[in-house]
Amino acid sequence: MTRADWEKSYARTESALRSAGVEKTADLPTLEEVRVRFLGRKSELTELLKSLKDLSIEDKRDLGPKAQGLKASFEAALEARKSVLEESGDAAALAADAIDLSLPAIRPPKGRLHPLTTTLHEIARIFQLMGYSWAEGPFVEDEKHNFSALNIPDDHPARDSHDTFYLQGLPYLLRTHTSTVQIRTMETQRPPLRVVCPGRVFRHEQIDATHSAVFHQVEGLVVDENIGLADLKGHLQTFLQKLLGASTKTRFRPSYFPFTEPSTEVDVKCFFCPGTGCPSCKHTGWIEILGAGVVNPVVFKAIGYDEKKWSGFAFGIGVERVAMLLHGVRDLRDFYTNDIRFLKQFDESLT
């Protein structure tokens, strides 16, 4: 074969390829037919490539790449068309798959932790970061731990504010505050101490929107050398700012508890109004949030701690009160009715 013959057959093949209309092929089977026609073993293009071997070395070097280029561009065109045809085929099949995506989601049941649990955990978590361990004591208590060891003797008027459930025929009562755990902890541990004692307490009170015969407190106790009211202020301010936000303003005002001296009640600036007064702060601009004080040395003395060496502070926080403030709950009874319409609004579930 001469170079001229080869070139003639090249031109013929090229034109045939062009007129084959790869880009317009209607479907994948037709495209396959085209491919076989031009790339099959006996096809024009294959023959053209085969016939290169009959040419001279120079011609081969010259025309070989030309032929390969023709094959490559044809293959590329085939590939391109193939992917176009596949895409459109997919689209049709995918369209046929369509389901109604707007139907409601199917949910596994969603469990929630009770808002009092999450609130209590949050309070305890902050104190834990400040080095406080968790301590517990019994709910059924005796007079000593609930009252007398806390410097509330039998005839003390402070007992008036502790309406107490007593047990029938047994020398016990249901603890009226978690301060009992202060005594329980000090009975079994030596200072230095840093504990929070969260838990359930009982008051003999008719239940209404703002009173519950069962509620929860978090008691705190720090005993160390050289602890003063300033440490109490530092710890509680840090706690309140972590709980309620860094800009929380606190107010420490004097108060009275038999087991602390000096004592204080701590208010935070109302976060429902700009300090101008609203129902949440009883129109005072401040919300009372906890009671605290320097441990009265008589408590140490009664427990057998050396009150000259050790000093400390204690505090008590009402968990319901904090939860009501954080979540805007207005009726205490909602916490104990366990209506799912109430519970499901709190999604701090797995913190």
Binding site: F165, I227, S349
Partner: protein, 796 residues
């Protein structure tokens, strides 16, 4: 305690508004819970009469009235819906000034000239009674200044006095506290000793411990009548009802200087004497509140020759009360031991302003001075002549000196107040302050029995120098690691696990009614009970958390929920001997569809026993070797709340740790849950808390391929699946990794009385791949064992 600012100013000149005073009191530790303004805070408002009332021509909600103020008749536009012709009203004339400096002028309202305003009570700064204008009722003449009808202007504060500060339970007491704060002097107290040569009735005190001071002064020839206006208005300002001059004077002195006094009609005291003694069995007292009290034995009473005439420090008797016909008054001024007064008040459930003060601790030095003051007022107001008081006194007046130092007080406060400041703040409240900053002696006055230790003084210094001036300090962190208790750590694991399994946490009360226990087939016997239950709903301490959870489920279903999945972590109680056992438990209830898929409701499975079983298995994971038994076959104590056949009891090393099953049908019926198929579980949280709390360790697993073989077994319906598992395990095949039950079938193709179980066996070794022959041999072993021991055949 109600505090009149006008009254307070009689003891201490104060140029503070009520709001400023409230702030000061709060800083000193006295909360102000209320503030009431008395008298007029307006001018130019007179009594008027609405002569006519017409609808406003241009406004639906306005009326045009003609008001007669006695001098002229003027047109007034009024917006209140309750205005009507014929009413007597408070009429603000043009030129009047209402609270908030609101000036009233004539002006046009929707085209009608309004000359002044008809006022509501709240517009006049008075407590609101009805919506709309104040309808005054007939009485005052037209044109009378309304302000003059309201009495003098005053502010009355409701001050909360903590129980350690009985010395502040009077106007003078509070003034004394403020004087110390402001470093001012109290005004001297007027009135003095009334001298006489006459002698009062004899006084005998049988228990000088309980009554360390008793003084009685006889005043004869009194004319008891109404109190003068100044006295009445003082008492009324703080909410007291005037009774008669003598009684009012004793009340006045109580609220003025804090000493409770009592006046007897001396002619009604049998035998003409006073005996302070213990009550005897069967004694009664008809008290001033018109009720008769049975006095328990041993209360301190004031008695005449025959019987008690007063419960000491609490209340006097009606039969010896001073009335307008009283001629001779015996005036009591005493100091009673606080514990005695409290005991009397508690035992009789009788409280009074007197008992409130005595039980907190009155000033033991005050009775004589207070009685003198009252006697002088009685002579001044009711006339008569006073005898010298009879007294029985053993009272110890001097307090105990506190020795401390400024450094110590600063240490308690964590503050750095200067010596001068600290001593200057203590000086006004001390009876005697001696020594130096490094070593001082503080002698408290007789009215401050609450001051006994350095900590007490530190609080005083903190209050007067301001808690705000004490720094914020962080005590250094203890090197100890903050830890949870095992029970708390466990309850957190359990809570988050159960929430992840779709159960919501409930909080129920620990006290239940006997009725709700009975509904759960539980008995109240052996349960601790409240001696003083709030109601029958709050009588028994619970032995199970389930009654509460059943109530929660029923509550939610009755309010439209179709599923209920709840758990609770809480305590259960039982009496053991003379003690009460309380144990942390976790319990739960499952009921209704396990998926929230209403539109696929037909396909969504409902909670079954096996869902409950999964939950309990999760709870018991890593707790130890669990042995399951049917509740009816378990050797552990039964639980009548559960269905005996369809309940499993889990034990670990013989200890019952958990129960899961159907609700007993009768319990289900009691809670109206019988159609719901409720599943309940209950576990001992404290037992679980005892398990190893180890961090999970990773174990290598084989990456070699495994072989699976499926078997369809047909066996007797009475055999339990557990038997199949047991038989397979007993084959001790090294290569057997897992047995999976993937179908349970009865019906067509399976003979009557038989059940088909489809199980998948997974074989594999860690170090090499098994050959087909090995696997087949293993399967044959299994099939043979099942055939031999359970009569199982392969389903063809």
């Amino acid at each position: 305690m109600k505090v009149s600012l006008n009254w307070l100013r009689e003891h201490l000149p104060l140029e503070l508004s009520a709001a400023e005073l409230s702030t000061h009191l709060l800083r000193l530790g006295f909360e102000v819970a209320g503030h009431q303004r008395l008298g007029a805070t307006f001018t130019g408002v007179v009594v008027g009469k609405v002569v006519t009332k017409e609808k406003h021509p241009n406004a639906d909600k306005l009326s045009v009235c003609v008001v007669d103020d006695g001098a002229t008749k003027r047109t007034v536009v009024c917006g209140a819906p309750n205005v009507d012709a014929g009413q007597t009203v408070a009429y603000a004339r043009p030129g009047a000034v209402l609270p908030g400096n609101f000036k009233i002028e004539g002006r046009k309202l929707r085209g009608v000239e309004s000359q002044g305003m008809i006022c509501s009570r709240s517009e006049l700064g008075l407590p609101k009674d009805v919506d709309g204008i104040w309808i005054m009722g007939e009485g005052p003449a037209l044109g009378t200044d309304v302000g003059s009808l309201l009495g003098p202007a005053d502010d009355v504060l409701e001050v909360e006095i903590t129980s350690n500060r009985p010395d502040c339970l009077s106007h003078r007491g509070l003034a004394r506290e403020l004087a110390a704060d402001f470093h001012k002097e109290l005004k001297p107290l007027g009135g003095g000793m009334v001298e006489s040569r006459k002698v009062s009735l004899p006084v005998t005190v049988e228990d000088s411990e309980a009554c360390p001071f008793y003084g009685a002064r006889l005043i004869e020839d009194v004319k008891v009548g109404d109190s003068p206006a100044w006295l009445k208005s003082k008492l009324e300002a703080i909410g007291l009802r005037p009774i008669n001059s003598v009684v009012d004077i004793t009340n006045y002195v109580l609220h003025d200087i804090g000493q409770p006094l009592h006046a007897f009609d001396a002619d009604k005291l049998k035998g003409g004497k006073i005996i302070v003694r213990r009550s005897e069995a069967g004694e009664k007292l008809l008290a001033l509140d018109h009720k008769t009290y049975d006095l328990p034995e041993g209360l301190l009473v004031i008695a005449d020759d025959e019987k008690p005439v007063a419960l000491a420090g609490v209340m006097g008797g009606e039969e010896t009360a001073v009335t307008t016909s009283t001629k001779r008054v015996l005036l009591e001024g005493a100091y009673f031991n606080p514990a005695e007064a409290r005991k009397s008040s508690q035992k009789t459930r009788l409280r009074s302003d007197s008992s409130y003060r005595f039980e907190r601790g009155s000033d033991p030095a005050a009775p004589r001075e207070a009685a003198d003051r009252a006697a002088a007022l009685i002579l001044q107001i009711a006339g008569g002549s006073a005898a010298m008081p009879s007294e029985a006194a053993s009272v110890r007046l001097e307090g105990t000196k506190i020795h401390s130092s400024v450094a110590k007080l600063n240490q308690i406060l964590g503050a750095d107040f200067s010596d001068d400041k600290v001593l200057a703040s203590l000086k006004p409240i001390a009876k005697e302050l001696t020594g130096t900053a490094a070593d001082f002696g503080f002698l408290p006055p007789s009215w401050r029995r609450d001051l006994a230790t350095a900590n007490d003084l530190a609080e005083e210094v903190g209050r007067f120098l301001g808690y705000d001036n004490i720094p914020y300090r962080m005590a250094p962190m203890s090197p100890k690691t903050a830890r949870l208790t095992p029970v708390e750590a466990e309850s957190r694991r359990v809570r988050s696990r159960l929430a992840a399994l779709g159960l919501s946490e409930a909080y129920n009360y620990d006290l239940l009614s006997e009725k709700s226990l009975a509904a759960c087939r539980l008995s109240a016997d052996g349960q601790p009970r409240a001696a003083n239950p709030l109601s029958e709903d709050w009588a028994v301490l619970r032995q199970s958390l389930l009654p509460g959870l059943l109530k929660n489920a029923a509550h939610n279903l009755s309010r439209g929920a179709d599923a209920a999945r709840f758990f609770e972590v809480g305590k259960a109680y039982a009496i053991r001997g003379t003690d009460v056992d309380e144990t942390w438990r976790v319990a739960g209830i499952l009921l209704g569809p396990v998926l929230d898929a209403r539109w696929q409701a037909a396909r969504a499975p409902r909670a079954s026993f096996y869902d409950g079983k999964a939950i309990v298995e999760d709870l018991l994971e890593k707790a130890g070797p669990v042995v399951w038994a049917k509740l009816s076959e378990s050797k552990t104590p039964s639980d009548p709340l559960f269905h005996p056949a369809n309940t499993l009891r889990a034990t670990i090393n013989g200890a019952p740790v958990a129960t899961v099953g159907w609700l007993h049908p009768r319990v289900a019926r009691a809670f109206d849950l019988e159609r719901e198929g409720a599943i309940v579980f209950d576990a001992d949280l404290e037992w679980l808390a005892g398990r190893e709390d180890a961090v999970s360790r990773f174990a290598e697993f084989s990456s070699l391929p495994v072989s699976r073989r499926d078997l369809a077994l047909v066996l007797d319906k009475k055999s339990a699946y557990r038997d199949v598992e047991t038989v397979i395990k007993k084959c001790r095949l090294e290569a057997l990794q897992d047995v999976l039950l993937f179908d349970v079938y009865e019906g067509k193709g399976v003979p009557e009385g038989k059940v088909s179980l489809a199980i998948r066996l997974t074989f594999g070794l860690a170090d090499r791949t098994l050959t087909d022959t090995e696997v087949s041999a293993a399967v044959e072993t299994v099939v043979a064992a099942l055939a031999k021991q359970l009569g199982a055949s392969l389903r063809s």
